[in-house]
C-alpha cells in the first residue's frame, strides 16, 4: 500500500514533463551591447557602415526556404550573410526561431501575443497595423539618416506610394519590403511560339484576332483545346485588361467613391466572353475541377497553347520546353482588347510585408544598418570594388541566397525597374554581349541565370531569358505599358481595414463560384447582377464602406 502511494507520488511528480515537451525555445527582446556609434558617421557613400566598437547582438526570426543552395555547412541561421554582417558591422545575428514558410504567420502571431518579439522581423500588413496601433514597434524616423544607406533611400523614393503606407502621422514606423515595381504587376498573354509561326498569324491586337489564333491552333493540333483555365478562375481575372475591367483592385467609381473592380459592369462583359469561349469549346470541359498544375501539364503535353499569366510564367512553363523542344517555348504578348485599341492595365499594391523593429529594442541602429547591408551587397558592393563577383555570388547563390535574410531584406523596385529592363533588352539585341556595365550585382546574376539558353541551348535559362532578354520579353512589353501610362493603380494602398479583413477570402470566393456557374452555362448572364447583390449583402458593402473610410478622398 505504502509502495503504491510512493509510486503514485512519483508519477505526479512526472507531470511537469508533459508540459516540458515541445517548448524549450527561448527568445529575448532586444538586449546586450549599446550602439556606441549612434551619431558617429564615417565619410563617403557608405556613411552608414560604421562598424560597432563592441559586438552588438541582433535578434531575428526567420522561415525556411528549402530551395536555397546553401554552401556546405551553412543554413538559415549561419551563412555568408551572418558572417558578412559580423565582419563589416560587428553585429551578431542571433536567430530566435525558424519556422517553415507556411507556418511563419501563425508562429509570429503567437510571438506577438506572448510579447516575445525579436529586435527586427518581417510581418504582414494586418500585423503591421495592429502592432503600430498597440505601440509595439519603434519609430524609425530619427534613425534613418545615420543608418539607412543612400541606396535604401533610392528604393524608398522609387515607390513613394508604398513608402507612404509605412508612415503614420508622418512618422516612419517600419520599412515596406517593396515589390519589384509596377511593371512586373502587369499580366501577359502567353502563346506557343512554334504554333504561332506555323499559323502565320500576326500578334493579336483584338479578341477576334485571339480567337482566330485559337481556332488555328485547334485545327492544326487535333485533340488540343484553345485556352487554359482552371478552378480558381485566375486566368479570367488576369485577362481583365482585355475588357477594360479592373478585377481584384479597388478603383474610383462613377460617383467618386472607391468601388471593387470585380463587381463592376466591365467584369460582366469579361464573364460573358469566357462563357462564350466555354460554349465554343475553347476551354477544357472540366476546367472547374482542375488546378494550375494541370494546365501547365497540358501545355507541356502539347494540349493547349494559349494562357493568361504573370510576367514570370516562363519559370513555370520550362517543362514544356524540356518536353517539346527549344522552339516550342511560350512567348509573351500584350493582352489584346475587344476594341483592338491598346488596353489599360490594373495594378495592385506592390507590397506584401513590412520590416519592423521592436519598440523595446536597444539596437535599432544595428537593425537598420543590417537592412542597408543586404541592399549594399546586392547592388553596390561590386561597383564600389569592395567585393568581387565571386564573393557576392557566395551571398546571392544564383539568386536564391538573396532571400535568406528575410527579416532584413528589402526587395528592389529601384534596381529591378525600367533601367534593368532597358539594359537587358540592349544585351538581347546585341547578340547577348553586355554593352554597358551592370548597375547592380543582381543584374549580372540574372544574366548568368539566362545565359544557358543561348550559350548551351539549355532550357534552364528559359525562365530568365523570356522575362528580360528575348527581344519581345515580358519585361520589355510591360515596360511599354508603363511608359505610355496605360495603367490604373489600386486605391487600397495599404492593409485591408479590419472590418473587411474579417471576411477573409470568402467574398472573392463567392464571386468565383458565381462566375464559374455563368461560364459553364449553369446560370444565365443576368445572374451576374444577383451575384453582385449577394456579394454586397454578404459583406461587400461593409468592406466597401471600410475601404472608403480608410483610403477615401476625405483625408
Amino acid at each position: 500500500m505504502k509502495r503504491l502511494l510512493i509510486l503514485a507520488a512519483l508519477l505526479v511528480a512526472l507531470v511537469p514533463l508533459a508540459f516540458a515537451s515541445g517548448g524549450g525555445e527561448t527568445s529575448a527582446t532586444g538586449t546586450s551591447a549599446t550602439a556606441g556609434d549612434f551619431g558617429k558617421r564615417i565619410g563617403g557613400a557608405n556613411y552608414w557602415m560604421a562598424k560597432f566598437d563592441q559586438p552588438v547582438t541582433l535578434h531575428v526570426v526567420n522561415f525556411e526556404r528549402p530551395q536555397t543552395p546553401f554552401l556546405p555547412g551553412d543554413g538559415t541561421t549561419k551563412n555568408e550573410w551572418t558572417r558578412g554582417i559580423k565582419e563589416f558591422l560587428n553585429i551578431d545575428i542571433v536567430t530566435d526561431w525558424v519556422s517553415d514558410s507556411a507556418g511563419y504567420t501563425a508562429k509570429l502571431n503567437l510571438a506577438i501575443a506572448s510579447k516575445e518579439l525579436p529586435d527586427v522581423f518581417r510581418c504582414d500588413p494586418i500585423q503591421f497595423t495592429q502592432l503600430v496601433e498597440a505601440g509595439m514597434v519603434a519609430d524609425l524616423t530619427d534613425y534613418q539618416a545615420n543608418n539607412l544607406s543612400g541606396m535604401v533611400f533610392k528604393i524608398m523614393e522609387a515607390a513613394p506610394v508604398v513608402t507612404a503606407s509605412a508612415k503614420f502621422n508622418g512618422r516612419l514606423m517600419g520599412l515596406p519590403t517593396y515589390g519589384y515595381g509596377d511593371l512586373w504587376q502587369i499580366y501577359d498573354l502567353w502563346i506557343r511560339n512554334d504554333w504561332m509561326k506555323q499559323s502565320g498569324l500576326p500578334a493579336p491586337k483584338s479578341i477576334a484576332d485571339l480567337e482566330k489564333i485559337m481556332d488555328s491552333f485547334m485545327k492544326a493540333n487535333p485533340g488540343s483545346y484553345g485556352m487554359g483555365a482552371e478552378k480558381t478562375l485566375n486566368e479570367v481575372f488576369k485577362s481583365g485588361a482585355a475588357f477594360n475591367a479592373k478585377p481584384r483592385i479597388w478603383v474610383d467609381g462613377p460617383d467618386g467613391s472607391i468601388v471593387y473592380g470585380s463587381v463592376q459592369p466591365e467584369m460582366k462583359a469579361a464573364i460573358a466572353k469566357w462563357a462564350e469561349w466555354y460554349k465554343k469549346g475553347y476551354l477544357r470541359k472540366d476546367f472547374m475541377a482542375i488546378d494550375q498544375r494541370a494546365i501547365v501539364g497540358d501545355i507541356a503535353a502539347g494540349k493547349v497553347g494559349v494562357h493568361f499569366m504573370e510576367n514570370w510564367a516562363g519559370w513555370v512553363y520550362v517543362d514544356a520546353v524540356k518536353a517539346l523542344g527549344m522552339d516550342a517555348f511560350m512567348a509573351p504578348y500584350e493582352i489584346p482588347t475587344e476594341s483592338g485599341k491598346p488596353g489599360i492595365f490594373p495594378i495592385g499594391f506592390d507590397n506584401g510585408a513590412y520590416l519592423v523593429v521592436n519598440k523595446n529594442s536597444k539596437v535599432i541602429p544595428a537593425a537598420l544598418k543590417s537592412i542597408s547591408f543586404v541592399s549594399w551587397v546586392c547592388m553596390e558592393a561590386t561597383s564600389q570594388g569592395i567585393l568581387t563577383d565571386a564573393q557576392v555570388d557566395r551571398y546571392l547563390l544564383k539568386g536564391e541566397g538573396r532571400h535568406t535574410m528575410i527579416p532584413i531584406e528589402l526587395n528592389d523596385p529601384y534596381g529591378n525597374g525600367p533601367a534593368m529592363v532597358e539594359w537587358a533588352h540592349k544585351v538581347g539585341l546585341n547578340n547577348y554581349q553586355i554593352t554597358e556595365p551592370a548597375m547592380t550585382s543582381e543584374w549580372k546574376a540574372q544574366y548568368d541565370q539566362a545565359a544557358p539558353w543561348w550559350r548551351d541551348k539549355s532550357p534552364t535559362g528559359y525562365g530568365r531569358w523570356i522575362q528580360q532578354y528575348y527581344p519581345q520579353s515580358s519585361g520589355w512589353q510591360n515596360l511599354q505599358v508603363i511608359k505610355q501610362g496605360r495603367y490604373v493603380a489600386t486605391r487600397l494602398t495599404g492593409a485591408m481595414p479590419a472590418e473587411g479583413a474579417a471576411y477573409g477570402s470568402t467574398l472573392d470566393e463567392l464571386l468565383v463560384e458565381g462566375f464559374t456557374k455563368i461560364i459553364v452555362g449553369e446560370q444565365p448572364l443576368s445572374y451576374f447582377d444577383t451575384l453582385v447583390a449577394q456579394w454586397k449583402s454578404s459583406g461587400g458593402d461593409v468592406t466597401t464602406k471600410a475601404v472608403n473610410r480608410a483610403y477615401g478622398k476625405k483625408k
Binding site: L131, D286, A289, G504
Partner: protein
Amino acid sequence: MPSRLQKTLSREGPYYALILPAVIVVFVFHYVPLYGVVIAFQRFNVARGFSSPWVGFANFQQIFSQVQFLRTIGNTVFIAVLKIIGGILVPVTFSLLLNEIGNVLVKRFFQTLVYLPYFLSWVILAGVFIDMLSLSGIVNKAVVFAGGKPIQFLADPTLFPWVMVVTDVWKGFGFGTVVYLAAITSIDPGLYEASLVDGAGRWMQTRRITIPLLAPTVVLMTVLSLGNVLNAGFDQIYNLYSPIVYSRGDIIDTFVYRLGIVQAQYSVGAAVGLFKSAVSAVLISLSLFLADRFAGYWVF
C-alpha cells in the same frame, strides 16, 4: 476502526493517484484554455491579446449574415449523416460476410486489404481520386464503355456530396470491420450450437443471434460518431472541392478555413467553433439519451 472513507481510499486511492497526472494534463490543456472562448466575443488583435475590444455577438451576426455560411450547415449535416450511416452499414455487412469465410488466412488477408486505405492521408488519396474520377479517368472510361456519357464527378454539385461519402466510407470501413469482426467472434459459440439443434439455418442464425448481439457495439460506435456530425471531414473535402461545388460541398470547416485561418481572423473562427461546440454538445446529450432509451446502453 478505519472509517468507510479511509477504507475506500486505501482500496481505490492508488488508482486515483495513477489517473491524477492524466487528469491534470487534461485540465491544463483542455479546460483552462476554454477561457480563450472569449475571443469569439472580441475583435481579436494579436497585439492586444485578450484586451482586444469587445464586440458582443457581432462576430456571430457577421457569419450568420453570410449566405455562404448558412448553407454550409445544411451541407455539413447532410454529408456527415450519410457518412455515419455508410460508416455503419458497410463495415457491419462486410464483417458479417467476412465472418462466413472459413479459411482463417483468407479472412485475415481480406481484413488487412480493406484496412490499408485507412492509413493513407487524404492529400495522397485526393490526387488518386482526382485522376480516377476525371473526364478521361478510369471510372469514366468504364461509363463510356457501358454506353454512357462522361460524368463530372468532382465538378457536379449534386454528385459531389455522394462522391465524398462513398470515397470516405471506402477509406474507413476497414477500421469498423476490425471492430465488428472482433465483436462477432466474441459471441458465445454455444448459442450457435443451440440454434443448430433447433433447426436454424445460416441466415436465421445471423438474424437472430449475430445481429442482436452485435447491436451494443454498433450503438456504441454510432454514439461515438454522433459527436462528429458537424465534422464532415475537412481534410477530404478541402483536397477535393472547388468553387463550382461550394453550393453542396462546402462544409463549415472549409468555410471557416477560408474565412479565418487564411488571414488569421481568429475571432470569426472562434465564433464558428463555439457554435459548433454548442450544437455538438446538444447532439451528444441527445444521442446518449437515445442510446440509453433504445439500446439500454448507458455510457457511464
